[in-house]
Each structure stands twice: as C-alpha cells, then as structure tokens.
C-alpha cells in the first residue's frame, strides 16, 4: 500500500463512520463562530429543542459587522447591531470555550484570534461558517468553511457529513526573492492554477519556500487556498509550529505538551504518498504581485501591463477580461505601476497579523502618504495584535505617515460596516477578494502584500517594492 498523505492522516483520524459510497461522518474538534453565518443555525437548534453537543469546542467572536472606530458609541446600524446582540444571546444560551464579544480587549477576526490563543492545533479538524477557515491549515489542521446548515449540524452532532476530497500537492522550492511575501506566493499560485484550479481538492503546500515561511506567512498562504477553489490548504507542522504554539492560553501544557509534540511530528505526508495532482513552482520565478481584475486569478507581477483582451484566443476568457477592465476602469496595456489609487486598506484575515503590520511599517516609517490618497486604513486583526503593534510603536509610524489606526475587525475587507469604497474608487488592499463590489458597490480592488500596499499609499500608485527604497 502506498504511503499516506498528510490529508489522509488528518481525515482518517476523524472518521466516526463511513458508508459504502464513501459518505463519511467526520468528527469536528474545533468550531469557530461569528455573527453573520450563525443566527439561523442557532435558531434551528432552538426550534428543534436541541443543545450544543460539545460547547467547549466553540470559539466565537463578532468581527464582520463591528465598527473599527468610536467603539464607545456602539454599533449605529440597527440590523448589524441586532446580529451582534443575537450572537451574544446565542453564546449565552448554548455556551462556548472562548467568546470575545464586541469591544472585548481580545476581539478580532475569527481567523486571527483562533490561532493566537492556541485554539487551533495541529491534527485538529476545524470548521467555521466562513470560507477563509482554510487559514488554520497553516498549523497542519484540516480546516475548511461550511454553510449555515452545516454549522447547525456541527453544533448538534459534533460531526460533519463529508466526502473525501482529492489530494493536491503544491510544491514551491528555492529561496523567495527580495520583497516577495507569502501573499505574493498565494497570488502567483492562483494566477497559475486559476480560481477553480483546486476545486474538489485539499491542497498541501510543501517545499523549501513554504518551510521558510513564518507561521503568519503560512496562514496568509492557506487563507488564500480557498481563492484557488481548494476545500482546504495544509502545511505540515514543524518546529516553527510548535514554537509558535508553546505557552499560548489553550495550547497543551506539561506532559500533554510533550505527548502532543510527539504526535504532531507524525503529521506529514509519507515519502511514498500519492497525490492526485502535483503542481511545482520555482520560488525564484515569483515576483511581487498585483491583481488587475475582479477575480484573484487576474493577477500579474508588478512589472506587468494590464492585459489586452484582443490577445486572448478563448472567447469566454476574452469576454471576462473585457468585463473586468470595464468594471475596473482600466485600459489595456497600461503598466501596473501607472495605476493611481484613491484608498489603501491594510488588514483582513489574510494580512492583519503583527508580521504584516511590521512589514507595512518598515515601508511607512518616516514617509507621508501621497496627497492624492484619500485614506489609508490600517486595521489590526485582533486586540492582541493591536496591543503588540502599539507596544512596538507601529501605530505612531502609521499615524505619522497620515494613515489611520483602527480597532480590530474585518472592516473594508468586505465592507459590511462603515468602512467602504465609494463607487469608482480604487483601492490597494491586503485582503483576499477583488470581486465586484466586495469593498463597496462600484469599488475597485487590487490585491497586494502589506509592503506593496504601504508603498502604494506613499507613492499614490503601485510601485515595485524591490526598488522602492531607491526612488527619489
């Protein structure tokens, strides 16, 4: 028998039962909850008189609807406030291991607070009614998004009805170039395999370039696995993973720690494991990336030019390029570095961790945002990230540069709160989706790394971060 992939191991260690056709009841270790995708699930439990199977598997916070300024004034928009209050009531009634409600010192984006509190561990199954649950795969956990009915199912039964995905290996080898971050690796992969390239697959990211990434970088990468259509993204745990987790509130302690670490060491694909598909990428070929269209696969290296639809042979693709350019208000052939911006957003579960803020601060230090840039929002991923950044003086660096320093939350990643683009406004964003209207109706989003976003804020247009220090 061929060896097992990491995905096989994670899957098999959670199978409660399996039907002849492969339909499996999979045990769920960690259930993450936020206010937007869960009210109907709790309501379902209530209507059927059911309780939560294991409330201490639940980690919850309010993040999507919450404002990022004037917290003392509460949530002004009534429907949003209702949803956040409903979460308070639901957690009170059904219980949770961890709950950081609105305005709690540790409130933040669910995918940031889970890992930083040690509630995401290697070998776990992690689900959340949120597609970017793939983030937690950075720890060698099997983590993916589910719908609201499945949220209710997991609450009631601690299991998920699932079928095994295909296993894909994406191998990135070699040293990453100057100015190239995990975000660029993620975008380059999506550019290569497309937004449906990973559909039906659990993707394992491996290779020396992936190993060289910090835990924050691995989270950024796995976060975007869903943008390649993958059900989950996974990185095998290693010494860095253990070092990151050691001492965190909910990480194992004492004898359990040693036992856990020994187990985590077994969580890797066997040398003779077989994958359904393999993609190999040379790290040296990855350059800093900028998206130009309305899908994350519409991405190019920063030195590129806006593509010309007439050069595209496939009629479907040609139509989609034409539509994207019209929406984005771009002309074919324009160098990406000539694209001028209105706003910059540094934040989201992709890039709002301390390392991301440090990278942006390095660029912003001693500089001023361009006068043509209306607003630069820096939104830390959690209360903990915010305090850490302030302890390092990063908030001052941003404020001195004319950036705004906000309270944690999802913010302008999806513009469910007051932070949004106006129609036609163009934004460099460290988030993960450049869909039409994502950051506000009519808003135009370009996805980039935190350093590229900060540099664009200062220059007023995109710049190649590799030569940023050399400009006049």
């Amino acid at each position: 028998m061929a060896g097992q992939t990491l995905y096989d191991k994670l899957w098999r260690s959670h199978v409660v039962r399996e039907d002849a056709d492969g339909t499996t009841l999979l045990y769920i270790d960690r259930h993450l909850i936020h206010e937007v995708t869960t009210p109907q699930a709790f309501e379902g439990l209530r209507l059927s008189g059911r309780r939560a199977w294991r409330a201490n598997s639940v980690v919850a916070t309010a993040d999507h609807n919450t404002p990022t300024s004037d917290w003392d004034q509460g949530i002004k928009e009534e429907v949003a406030r209702l949803q956040v209050e409903q979460l308070d009531a639901n957690i009170k009634e059904f219980g949770a291991l961890v709950y950081f409600p609105f305005r709690h010192a540790n409130q933040g984006i669910i995918h940031v607070i889970g890992p930083e509190n040690g509630t995401t561990l290697p070998g776990m199954t992690v689900v959340c009614g949120d597609s970017h649950t793939s983030t937690h795969g950075a720890f060698g956990a099997l983590a993916h998004g589910i719908g609201t009915s499945e949220v209710e199912h997991v609450l009631a039964t601690q299991t998920l009805v699932a079928k095994k995905s295909k296993a894909m290996l994406i191998k990135v080898d070699g040293p990453l170039g100057k100015g190239v971050t995990a975000k660029d690796v993620a975008l380059a992969i999506i550019g290569k395999i497309g937004t449906a390239g990973g559909t039906g697959c659990a993707v394992e990211f491996a290779g020396s370039a992936i190993e060289s990434l910090s835990m924050e970088g691995r989270m950024t990468l796995c976060n975007m696995a869903i943008e390649a259509g993958a059900r989950a993204g996974i990185v095998a745990p290693d010494d860095k993973t253990a070092a990151y987790l050691k001492g965190l509130t909910h990480a194992p302690k004492g004898a359990d720690w040693d036992k856990a670490v020994a187990y985590w060491k077994t969580l890797k694909s066997d040398a003779d494991a077989r994958f359904d598909s393999v993609v190999e990428i040379k790290a040296a070929e990855i350059e800093p990336q900028v998206t130009w269209g309305t899908s994350p696969e519409q991405v190019l290296a920063v030195g590129g030019r806006v593509p010309d639809p007439s050069q595209e042979a496939d009629p479907q693709k040609r139509a989609s390029i034409t539509r994207s350019l019209a929406y984005m208000g771009l002309t074919a052939g324009t160098p990406l570095v000539d694209i001028k911006l209105d706003k910059v957003f540094i934040g989201s579960c992709t890039n709002s961790r301390i390392e991301d803020l440090r990278a942006a601060a390095v660029v912003a230090r001693g500089q001023k945002k361009a006068s043509s840039i209306k607003r630069v929002l820096v939104v830390p991923g959690s209360g903990q990230v915010k305090r850490q950044a302030e302890a390092e003086g990063l908030d001052k660096v941003f404020l001195d540069a004319g950036f705004e320093w906000r309270e944690p939350g999802c913010s302008m990643c999806l513009a469910m709160n007051a932070d949004r683009l106006e129609p036609g406004e163009r934004c460099a964003s460290t988030s993960n989706r450049n869909f039409e209207g994502r950051q506000g109706p009519g808003g135009r989003t370009h996805l980039v790394s935190p350093a590229m976003a900060a540099a664009a804020a200062i220059a007023g247009h995109f710049v190649d971060i590799r030569s940023f220090g050399e400009r006049s």
């Binding site: 109907q40 999507h64 009614g129 998004g145 449906a196 059900r231 513009a415 869909f435």
Partner: protein, 212 residues
Amino acid sequence: MKAFKRIKGLVFPLDRANVDTDAIIPKQFLKSIKRSGFGPYLFDELRYKDHGEPGMDCTNRPLNMDFPLNWPRFQGAQVLLARDNFGCGSSREHAPWAIENYGFGVVIAPSFADIFFNNCFQNGLLPVVLPAPTVDRLFKECLATEGYTLEVDLERQTVTTPSGEAIPFEVNPHRKHCLMMGLDDIALTLQHADEIRAFETKHKSAQPWLFA
C-alpha cells in the same frame, strides 16, 4: 427541508463563468438573522439599477433590463443554467437561500464551488453537473428557443430536453436519498449518536489536549 423529486420548468441561462456568492446575494443582505425573504434580492447588483438594502420593497425599484433575468421571456424560470465554477467565493448559505427563494429548484453547470454545492443540498436545491460541451449546447438551444424548458428528474437522474433527449447525471446516493425524502441531516446523524460518543471517548484518551 422540502423534498425534491422532479421539476419541469423554464430555463434561465446565466452566461458567465465564476459567478461568485457576492454576485448571487450581496453582503448587505447577510445582516438578516432569518433564512427566508432573500428571493427579491437575488443577483441584486445585476438586477437593479439602484443600490439594494435589506428590507427594501423591490416592487418599484428600477430594473436593469440588460440583465436577462428581467426579460419577460425568462419570468417564472425554475432551472438556472450556469457556467463553470458557479457559486465561488464565500460560504454564505444565503446564496442557495436566495436562489431557492426566488423560485429556482435546479442549477445546472459544468462545475460548482465546493461549499456552495454542499449548501444546495441542505436547502432542497439540486445542483446538477453536466459536461461543459453539453452545457454549452443547452445554452445555445435555450437562447435560440423562447420558452425553452428542461425536465430534471432526480429519481432517474436525467435532464430531458424538449426534443426528448435524456441526459444522465451523477449524484451522491446519500444526498439523493435526503433530497428525495426531504430529510434533515441532523436527525439522520443523531441515529449514530452512540458511535459519535464512542469515537469521542477514544479520541479524548489519545489527544486529551483537544478537549481542554
């Protein structure tokens, strides 16, 4: 959940790939704590010329007549014909809720995004995968013929065209069973509560830290 057995209905062709869940139901409608009432806001940004907000009365909103769903010939459509990677993007179940609330019972496409695909089955909505060339042909026939209908039979696992051609499709037997009976997954799973408990005990003794 409402049972699904067979639908014979008018087809609405949505001729673009990678239709994402933000396009299906924009985020402002996610603030609702209900699971119904999303039908009028399906494809809101494409369908109307103004900006939609939850709770808005849609009867007098200006329609975007460039969007074919607003064309008289597609009113009352029950079968949504789509292109590759339909339902990509977020996990919001509001997307199938909106499609189902609007009146569709089936979505046919060459491929679907995973989470959306699973969500459909939870809501009495049948996602049917057909080969891309077949879908392409259905698009052509549908656009050429006013009043074009398809009959989708879950029991027989066929899509039948007006000319009587029956195209077979695959569906997971468990999903098929639940959909045909209108069965709630939770009740089915709880029949295995003892197995879940036994698994949990074993799992806890192997990795006690997971239960801390």
